[in-house]
């Protein structure tokens, strides 16, 4: 699934989209502890988090995360949005929870997220 299709499927609010029609989302990950995400989030994942701090962009960059989604209506720090655009990291928002979004996504992705 492409980022573009993901945004449409989950009704996400785009903050910065990087190459949405060709970047592929292969799996998903939920986590608010950055070290945990750093350790376990697979590359190419859509990552659901409440962490709006600028550091989540660094994590996404390091782990090759396809799309960062700030859930529960959390809005990003201005710096976070700017960093996402500067680093070319796709960043979206949603009013819904991680669980709700994952349930909606279930069955649509090529593979299940490995631990």
């Amino acid at each position: 699934m492409t980022v573009e299709e993901l945004v449409a499927l989950l009704g996400l609010d785009p903050i910065h989209l990087e190459d949405p029609s060709s970047r592929t989302v292969t799996t998903a990950y939920c986590g608010d502890l950055l070290s945990d995400v750093m350790a376990h989030c697979p590359p190419g994942a859509v990552w659901f988090t409440v962490q709006a701090h600028v550091n989540c962009i660094a994590v996404a960059e390091v782990r090759d995360i396809a799309c960062v989604v700030l859930v529960n209506g959390v809005s990003p720090d201005p710096q976070t949005a700017a960093r996402a655009a500067a680093q070319g990291v796709t960043l979206c928002g949603s009013e819904r929870s991680s669980a709700a979004l994952c349930m909606r996504l279930s069955g649509h992705l090529a593979e299940d997220a490995p631990a």
Partner: protein, 326 residues
């Protein structure tokens, strides 16, 4: 004459000024006493292929006999007479501490092929003999040495540049949350651009990120070095303290000393060090409450990954990446 050629000649002149006669001269000189005959000298010159020989009388240089003089002696029929009867005693010499330019000028002025070298101006104490070809050989030697020095210098320069290209250094300030991840991102880009496979780059990037965060969150500041070597990537991170009280505990997943503020930002899950260890092929950490903490993590590159028994060394990179992407 072109400017280039003028410059070349100036350079040669400068070099010639630096060369002393004593450096270029020949020290082993065949000499004859004034009682020798022209024929004695002629036979010697024929044998040794010299074109002239100094005449020394009890340690004093008194003359020089060249092939020209011998031909003249033949002409006059005095070839078997002692040379002291007819040889010229007006001698042109050059002192050994003069520059070879002086010798070169004398060659030019008198049309001589060789000059006796004396210990000091006005002396008749023979110490050697110098020809124009001695000067040329020495000049070539000197130019050659300069060329070698320049070449060695350039080699060192290139090696240094190469090293710089594969070496990254980051100064990391404490509490620098906003710059966190910069070192990891820059490292990642550099390694990708140098052809390191993406899964290995991710492991290095995680190591860098966690090491960087540790310095930012827990230390008074420090630095991180990343070295890309032919067979491995080495990350060294060191801080100025205060040090880790219990390293064994710090290495346990979930153990953290992070405060509320740090945890609210999504850090302090107690996974930094275990994460680094998990991503590294070799991991080493030392910490003291006086000197601070230093950690070294190494990620081996495919060419250096030991191959399993029966698997050929030329296994494709993608297979190795999968095997080592943990």
């Amino acid at each position: 004459m072109t400017q280039f050629h003028e410059r070349q000649i100036r350079l040669v002149h400068e070099l010639m000024y630096q060369i002393k006669v004593r450096e270029a001269m020949t020290r082993e000189v065949v000499t004859f006493p004034p009682t020798a005959t022209y024929r004695d000298i002629q036979l010697c010159l024929k044998r040794s292929r010299f074109s002239g020989t100094p005449i020394v009388d009890e340690g004093h240089l008194v003359g020089i006999v060249s092939i020209d003089d011998i031909i003249t002696a033949f002409d006059r029929g005095c070839i078997d007479e002692p040379i002291q009867l007819t040889m010229t005693r007006e001698l042109v010499t050059v002192p050994q501490n003069y520059s070879v330019i002086a010798a070169s000028n004398l060659f030019h002025k008198y049309g001589f092929g060789r000059l006796p070298v004396v210990s000091r101006p006005g002396s008749d104490d023979l110490v050697g003999i110098i020809t124009f070809s001695d000067i040329l050989s020495h000049l070539l030697l000197k130019i050659n040495r300069i060329a070698e020095r320049v070449e060695a210098h350039e080699r060192r320069l290139v090696a240094h540049l190469d090293q710089q290209r594969d070496h990254l250094h980051f100064e990391i300030a404490p509490d620098g949350f906003d710059r966190a991840g910069v070192a990891a991102t820059l490292t990642k880009r550099r390694l990708l651009s140098r052809g390191v496979p993406a899964p290995l780059v991710r492991r290095v990037a995680v190591i860098c990120y966690e090491a960087e965060m540790n310095i930012i969150l827990h230390s008074l500041g420090g630095f991180m070095d990343v070295d890309l070597l032919p067979d491995r990537v080495e990350v060294t991170a060191a801080d100025e303290g205060p040090g880790i009280a219990d390293l064994e505990k710090a290495m346990q997943p979930g153990f953290t000393t992070a405060n509320e503020k740090i945890r609210a930002l999504g850090f302090g899950a107690g996974m930094g060090l275990p994460n680094i260890k998990r991503c590294a092929d070799q991991f080493h950490i030392t910490s003291s409450m006086e000197a601070g903490t230093e950690l070294q993590a190494t990620v081996l590159l495919p060419s250096a990954v030991p191959t399993a028994a029966g698997v050929p060394a030329s296994v494709s990179p993608s297979e190795k990446e999968v095997a080592h992407d943990r």
